[in-house]
Symmetry: C2
Subunit: 436 residues, 2 copies
Amino acid sequence: MNRVNVGFLGFGTVGQGAAKVLVRNALEINRRTGRDISVKSAVVRNTSRTIEPELKDVALTTDPQEIINDPDIHVVVEAMGGDEPARSLLLQAVANGKHVVTANKALIAVYGNELFEAAREHGVSVAFEAAVAGGIPVIKSIREGLAGNRIQWLAGIINGTSNFILTEMRDKQRDFNDVLEEAQALGYAEADPTFDVEGIDAAHKLTILASIAFGVPLKFDAVYTEGISHITQADTAYAQELGYRIKHLGYASHTDNGIELRVHPALIPERRLIANVDGVMNAVLVQADAVGPTMYYGAGAGAEPTGSSVVADIMDVVRLDSASVDNRVPSLAFQHDALSDTRIVSKAEFETSFYLRILVEDKPGVMADVSRILGDEKISIEAIIQKEPDADSARVPVILLTRKIVEGAMDRAIAGIEALDSVEGNVTRIRVESLA
Amino acid sequence: MNRVNVGFLGFGTVGQGAAKVLVRNALEINRRTGRDISVKSAVVRNTSRTIEPELKDVALTTDPQEIINDPDIHVVVEAMGGDEPARSLLLQAVANGKHVVTANKALIAVYGNELFEAAREHGVSVAFEAAVAGGIPVIKSIREGLAGNRIQWLAGIINGTSNFILTEMRDKQRDFNDVLEEAQALGYAEADPTFDVEGIDAAHKLTILASIAFGVPLKFDAVYTEGISHITQADTAYAQELGYRIKHLGYASHTDNGIELRVHPALIPERRLIANVDGVMNAVLVQADAVGPTMYYGAGAGAEPTGSSVVADIMDVVRLDSASVDNRVPSLAFQHDALSDTRIVSKAEFETSFYLRILVEDKPGVMADVSRILGDEKISIEAIIQKEPDADSARVPVILLTRKIVEGAMDRAIAGIEALDSVEGNVTRIRVESLA
């Protein structure tokens, strides 16, 4: 029976969560792999850090070099987060011939290409299932389970904080800021919520999903990214009135024009299964040529859900250690020399339907102006909701649902509408995704 | 670049579906695996069978031995269905050192233990992702993606025919027989629908899922199996009135008493995501200790969805060919010598809530009798619906929702209720699963 030793760089929530799963389920893991996988040591910022009682046998150190240079450690788990020193330490671990498992989406999305190349040179694996959608084995499913398919598009609810906020706004008629405060109190959102509510975290994850789906290098900078902070409770209610739910989506599509990479809120028909993924849960819907649509659902964050993916990755890299290097599953699903540098579609070319909320003066002729501007850009209206004037402002919110149009045309139309004297403030636009 | 040759035993819908995916996506598959995987030959019952034009280069034969004994064939795909000659041919292929991929759920559920042992002896893989839930990579997800978890229970909508029938009955207020006829016309149901509507097909799949989840040998005979042919349109409507959907479930649970294996219709709260899996689609919900609930959704049948899983399996067995035998993912997820022969829980010990539909005479005292019988077995009532008498029979349907109780007690109560003079016919019982 082989013994495998694991060292942790970072032993906070995620690190200890994974270590606890390894220790608690050691017997089950041995029954599955025929190996004893143990947690040997962990780097902490200071050794007085609170450690869960079941992890009392783990040697603690403040010096990452003790783990990276330990010849008895076979697998290094990175659970520090951020770019440095995580990036440098992992490159060093790889150079020392250690397999690497990480939950760090920012690191993979931005520095993954470099890390994978180093791993290839040194014949080790870099695994990162926990970096996307927490405990859901979605990377494995796309990379291996759907490996025979040409993937057409994928759409994911991949940020639990945003999904929690939008769910509460709709279900309980609450405002964005009110729910955000609760999410912070519950530990679902950081003190600085920018990464979550402005879509950056989702863009990291989408970058990774798109690469493994389409066989393109990681291109975080190419993702069009929009958050949810401009969505009002009224938008969630109007969407419902129209038969839709607002979800924050990561969407990647392989079109004739190239690859679309975008993160933004979207109206989704309420009959779609993914429109019913609520609270902090995540889901990724994948459309592929042979299998059609498949969906993967579960917890997108949390110590043990993330730990579940980290432990599965450890078991995988240990298993594949005995396979010839060129037969291991490639980091980005495709052989490194088979990645194609496909064109990225610009925002002006995105083609979707739109939900528009426009605040207009309640007087004749305004709607005629709006309709004329839309008509000039060949934008057709599919549905319209006109509300009573707001008591205090005598302005009327008008909600329009358009047919599909390229975003460049919509940009021009919105500029025209916002320039009208009878229109107040900015037009709220939310894309509509039928996802079928 | 290695060339891999695949031979097909059986070239009907499933066989040709898989072969078409291999041929159409050959470039994509090469980009992923770095190998050329080709379809060399196929066994057909007679060589005048209609073959899809893109498969015209596949050599056809009526003699399986030509494939099984062909030294140039590395992987044999079995797509014949049924037990013999599939079983004997696969044992022979394995003895000849060929990896085997099959979509045959009945074969794996009943003869899997024997086939896996033979494969182990000869150092080859037997892969069967396509045997459960068609194109959904649920075996891979449970066996590898959740490998760090102790799995507590799983519940699957794993027969598309039954799900289509129940969905239509509810959505369009149609009768069972009426929808069954349509399903047959659409090709969703066989001329003899017994395997689908009586739960046998689902029991085959549940057998496989339970083994890979809990590490127990395949025990098809131990599955309690009940179909949907006794469900009426009225039941689907009453369930909806109570806030539930009726789904045909495969349910396996690791309890303190042992392992529960059961296939039957169940009422599921309509807010659960899995309750919204409609039509011919499949889904498997898995509850595990670290990750919590995860769900896998997609097409459970069809030529190319099944082909998607067959092709992924071919890619996997080719990849793992270079790994040491004891490092390959075990057929039943756990090392063969680590399977545990856990006790199977008997039907009388199942503990669920129940939906009961009782047809009673519309006269005083009947409900008191029913309540007394339930009370004697310590069965509490959670909800009750009493309808107006049927115009022609002067009998009233009474619908009860009970709290949790062991099935042995419910059996006795139902026997008592059916013995009442004022009760007509049999009591309809449907289990209720909250799945949370």
